[in-house]
Symmetry: C2
Subunit: 351 residues, 2 copies
């Protein structure tokens, strides 16, 4: 059939092999593969047959070398800022449904575009350097960064290195970098308004860690809205977004304010814990104490009773992050932008 020798066995066929099989030049095969420019339909057909016959697959490394694109992006979970040499692996990160939703949103957007995320963690100075080096080596074209810590230096490092990156949540320090976020204050206001509308009189709140800007916003938004309702003083305990911290916070709240009849908890995981503590103390939800969470994560549905919460469109936000990142990669001079999402009240049974 073909007059060329079969491609040297062992290694896969190259463009050259296909070109020989099709009786055309390397350049023409390349054009057909990349679907560009003017190639005679008949020749196109011949080339496609040759590709199928040889079982040709383009070599990504060779392609990247000249295009300076890898078609991969890094999904970086950046964190605690533990500056010791130690590098405790944050296995629990994956356990958080929040991370799962982010990953899901990103993969959902990228997959149809043939881009796949490379999972990376950066907890220490050393691993941050690793991430930076990894990107500068051209292993990925850019990064989507989910920072769990306010004083994470990675966003700044990425900007300084001129690497395309998009953040989840507004960076604490002003930085020319694109990000997506949700209107935390507006969400907290929805919770406050709902609790007040329900008739709750003695309302308290469990916040997230004050080191996280989102926590500050939710707390401030909640307080502001409650002040508008005539309640400037709100009992408040700080949690850390984890289940145990939610338990502890709710216990403390009940001990200090046994008469509360409504609680706004800054995320669903802590709210789930709060529900268990309330039941344990014989409080009925929502009859005795109404509870509103934040996030509308899978935890909200696993709660008994199902949790009334503030929907945080994490998947959409994650998809938007991916979209912004691809845009920045495509157009390096593009200005940093922010995309802010609207939260929404989701009424279930806990309030």
């Amino acid at each position: 059939m073909s007059e060329g020798l079969p491609p040297s066995s062992g290694s896969s066929p190259t463009l050259e092999d296909v070109a020989r099989a099709a009786g055309v030049s390397r350049a023409t095969v390349s054009r057909v593969i990349n679907g560009i420019r003017n190639v005679d339909p008949a020749i196109q057909e011949t080339v496609k047959k040759a590709i199928a016959a040889t079982g040709y697959v383009p070599n990504q490394a060779a392609r990247s070398l000249v295009t300076r694109r890898t078609g991969a992006i890094a999904l970086v979970v950046s964190g605690a800022g533990d500056e010791s040499g130690e590098d405790p692996f944050p296995g629990q990160v994956f356990a958080d449904p929040f991370f799962g939703r982010v990953a899901g949103g990103i993969v959902g957007f990228l997959r149809p575009r043939g881009v796949h995320p490379i999972l990376m963690f950066a907890e220490t100075a050393e691993t941050r350097a690793q991430v930076l080096a990894y990107l500068r080596q051209g292993n990925a074209d850019g990064a989507v960064l989910v920072s769990t810590n306010a004083d994470d230096p990675l966003p700044r490092l990425l900007v300084e290195a001129g690497l395309p990156a998009v953040l989840f949540a507004r960076p604490p320090e002003p930085l020319p970098i694109s990000y997506v976020d949700v209107q935390h204050r507006a969400g907290a206001k929805l919770a406050a308004d709902h609790l007040v509308a329900r008739g709750c009189k003695r309302i308290a709140t469990i916040s997230g860690p004050m080191a996280v800007p989102a926590s500050q916003e939710r707390l401030a938004g909640f307080r502001d809205a409650m002040a508008v309702h005539g309640q400037p003083y709100i009992p408040w305990v700080e949690g850390s977004f984890t289940y145990p911290s939610g338990e502890a916070a709710m216990e403390r709240l009940l001990a200090e304010h046994p008469d509360i009849d409504g609680v706004f908890v800054a995320n669903d995981v802590m709210a789930q814990a709060a529900l268990v503590v309330l039941r344990h103390h014989g409080r009925r939800v929502p009859e005795d104490v109404a509870v509103v969470g934040f996030d509308d994560s899978s935890a909200a549905l696993a709660c008994r009773p199902p949790l009334t919460t503030i929907r945080h469109p994490v998947e959409d936000m994650a998809a938007e992050m991916a979209r912004l990142l691809l845009a920045h990669i495509e157009e390096p001079e593009r200005q940093a932008t922010s995309v802010i999402f609207e939260p929404a009240l989701v009424i279930r049974e806990s309030a």
Copy 2:
């Protein structure tokens, strides 16, 4: 200082730039970077200074082109075998704590070795082809595969393509491919023995989907052990490892066998649902009904009461998968091997 021109601004410095700055050849710089062979210590020092001065970072694409290694591996979650053109993105996969543990174990092992996993999903014939093409293009050196479905064709496709791969769980059809697994039968026996030792007399079980070999094994192991204890007939309802299926299964079990006093549930997520249903029906756990789960996932601790369960060393298994994969990449002719882990009973409060 250096006599060469500064590297052309805009693009990053190359080996050539460093070589010029150090006054040596490209080959020598390459030797220093890769830490091989005999290079005069004085020259080594000069080269290192030049690298620091120029801010040189090796280009991974160029390196991959000649070494035929990328230093990346694919973490593939392969699934439902939905052969329609549709490709419903399995967002819920991430919600499953099991997946999180696998990812955690793999990242924990790979990260210190500078390897990062590329997250991929393969649910349809089309996406399976995508994964295969991705690997053949040399985007990753091999794959670690977590299959959620028994008749997943991907393992076979990987073997046929001669791509290094390691599976989580034994493949249903015999295949020359390495895998890790746990002794499901032995784990189920631990559960059976524990329930019997507790004094349970009317024991039932909720299994996983029969399409999954692990589910079959757990059920068979449980039945065998119970038969040894003189109870050959065990009420049984099939679930699908999800929370709602656990709810439904427990409801049905209670309806059909209201007098049961012990249940073995084939995973923790369904056990969590079962606990809620039991409480809802006024059954005390473990006083009225003892419950044993399987996996020892994060769900086990989130249960009230905390779940007695069978520990499935998922993280260790995932790390072993990664180890095996790197070994196969290193040594392509290596024989396929299996590594089977021991389960263990973890006694908490539910039984």
